[in-house]
């Protein structure tokens, strides 16, 4: 008599996937938040700093942009374990994903600063605004509007790329799907559901960005 090791997909599995989707959202938003702050600072340094600063930052960020994220995750996770400081999967995943996001956002931010015409900045300085006031009240809002769609593009790709964090054992949406597939063998249905969850996470972001852009363009 054959023992059936597989079991049907059950309603509570949907809840399991839903929770995993929330973890995908959590790690993505954390990485987007941290990565965007650092990316903005790097981008500002690259556009305003001297050529040596720009070169060094760019070279470092190029490493993170060009090495596949999955390799970065495994390398970092193994490295800290070998070094004797193992971190929870969420923490090491967040660190790697944040650095990766920062590397992508840095280029976007640099484009934003450079999209503000020099003459506009001269005009604001001529009114007596300090360098930092010019940065805060002119460069930031004008530059942000110029590169906002690109930044949203980075954010959406980070949501999808966060699936790779599954390789170091963080149970986010993709990992949860794999667990269920192993149990039910119902690949098609489960991946379809997972895909819908990814869509449900991304769609509000792109809708919100459209709304914000429309308000700016009034």
């Amino acid at each position: 008599m054959a023992i059936n090791v597989f079991s049907e997909l059950q309603p509570k599995d949907l809840l399991f996937l839903g929770e995993a989707a929330l973890r995908t959202l959590e790690i993505s938003l954390t990485a987007i938040g941290i990565g965007s702050v650092f990316g903005a600072i790097f981008g500002w340094m690259m556009s305003e700093g001297n050529r040596i600063v720009t070169f060094i930052i760019n070279a470092i960020l190029d490493i993170f942009r060009s090495v596949p994220l999955i390799i970065q995750l495994i390398l970092f996770d193994s490295f800290i374990s070998i070094a004797g400081y193992p971190l929870p999967a969420f923490v090491s995943g967040t660190i790697v994903l944040s650095v990766y996001t920062a590397a992508l956002v840095a280029n976007v931010a640099r484009g934003g600063v450079e999209a503000v015409p020099a003459s506009l900045r001269r005009a604001s300085r001529s009114l007596g605004l300090s360098y930092w006031q010019d940065l805060r009240y002119i460069v930031w809002p004008v530059g942000l509007r110029a590169v906002f769609p690109s930044w949203i593009g980075v954010a959406l790709s980070v949501v999808k790329d966060s699936a790779l964090v599954s390789v170091i054992g963080y149970v986010e949406l993709l990992k949860a799907s794999q667990i269920l597939i192993t149990r039910t063998q119902d690949t098609f249905v489960i991946l379809t559901i997972a895909g819908l969850f990814y869509f449900a996470l991304s769609y509000p972001i792109s809708k919100a960005s459209e709304y914000i852009e429309r308000r700016w363009n009034q």
């Binding site: 015409p117 003459s119 506009l120 001269r122 005009a123 604001s124 300085r125 001529s126 009114l127 007596g128 605004l129 300090s130 006031q133 009240y137 002119i138 809002p141 004008v142 509007r145 700016w216 009034q218």
Partner: protein, 240 residues
């Protein structure tokens, strides 16, 4: 009073100002004419500390502009500047454009700054455009907002860097009228311009710049009708 002594300025190898001596008295309107590359716009940027200088000095109300101890952000409040590009802040309405510097630099309350901005826009004839964004304004209107924005800091001096040369011909008049009005009100102004007729009407003196030197400075009538330098005569015959 603006006192410029032996001002020299280079961009890399190219010396664009080769020793300028010039005094602009309070209440005076001085126009600076000359062909492109003669250094006249650079002169304005130097007066406003937007460009560093190589040597010489610029005193504005006896404050040395390029002295390291000088607070340029404070000094610039004395000196309004209007550029060739309209340079309105694209994300702000006309009123917000004008109110920004009074709020952030002079620390005025939002209400006071917005009231001041509305008055300044009224002054340049744009009282109905307070809520318009730059994209909804013509070039001439944008340039008048830029003038109102500079005036809102209550400067003692106004510098105009080819303020009408990026405008469509039919819009030049309204901006010139605004500048004329300021001249009548006694504002001390330096105008870098290509509009010789306008310069003649509005100026107390006209200076002609040629290849980084001030070739000639005189009353409009003398300089235009009886130029002392052959370079001046040649330039004037070319622009007419």
């Amino acid at each position: 009073m603006i006192e410029i002594k032996d001002l020299k300025k280079s961009f890399g190898e190219l010396q664009v100002l080769k020793g300028i001596d010039l005094t602009v008295n309070n209440g005076e309107v001085l126009s600076v004419i000359g062909s492109s590359g003669s250094g006249k716009s650079t002169l304005l940027y130097c007066i406003n500390a937007l460009e560093p200088i190589d040597s010489g000095s610029i005193l504005v109300d006896s404050i040395s502009v390029h002295d390291k101890a000088t607070d340029v952000n404070k000094l610039r409040q004395k000196i309004g500047m209007v550029f060739q590009q309209f340079n309105m802040f694209p994300h702000l309405t006309a009123q917000e454009n004008v109110a920004l510097a009074p709020r952030k630099v002079k620390k005025m309350s939002k209400k006071d700054a917005m009231d001041l901005a509305a008055r300044q826009l009224e002054h340049v004839g744009l009282g109905e455009k307070v809520d318009s964004y730059p994209s909804a304004l013509s070039g001439g209107q944008q340039q008048r907002v830029a003038i109102a924005r500079a005036l809102a800091m209550e400067p003692s001096y106004m510098l105009f860097d080819e303020a009408t040369s990026a405008l469509d011909p039919e819009l030049v008049g309204e901006v010139e009228d605004t500048m004329r009005m300021l001249a009548k009100e006694g504002m001390t102004m330096i105008l870098v311009t290509h509009e010789i007729n306008f310069a003649r009407d509005v100026s107390d003196r006209i200076a002609f710049f040629h290849q980084g030197r001030m070739e000639e400075i005189n009353s409009p009538d003398q300089l235009i009708n009886h130029p002392a330098s052959e370079h001046t005569a040649k330039f004037l015959s070319n622009v007419r």
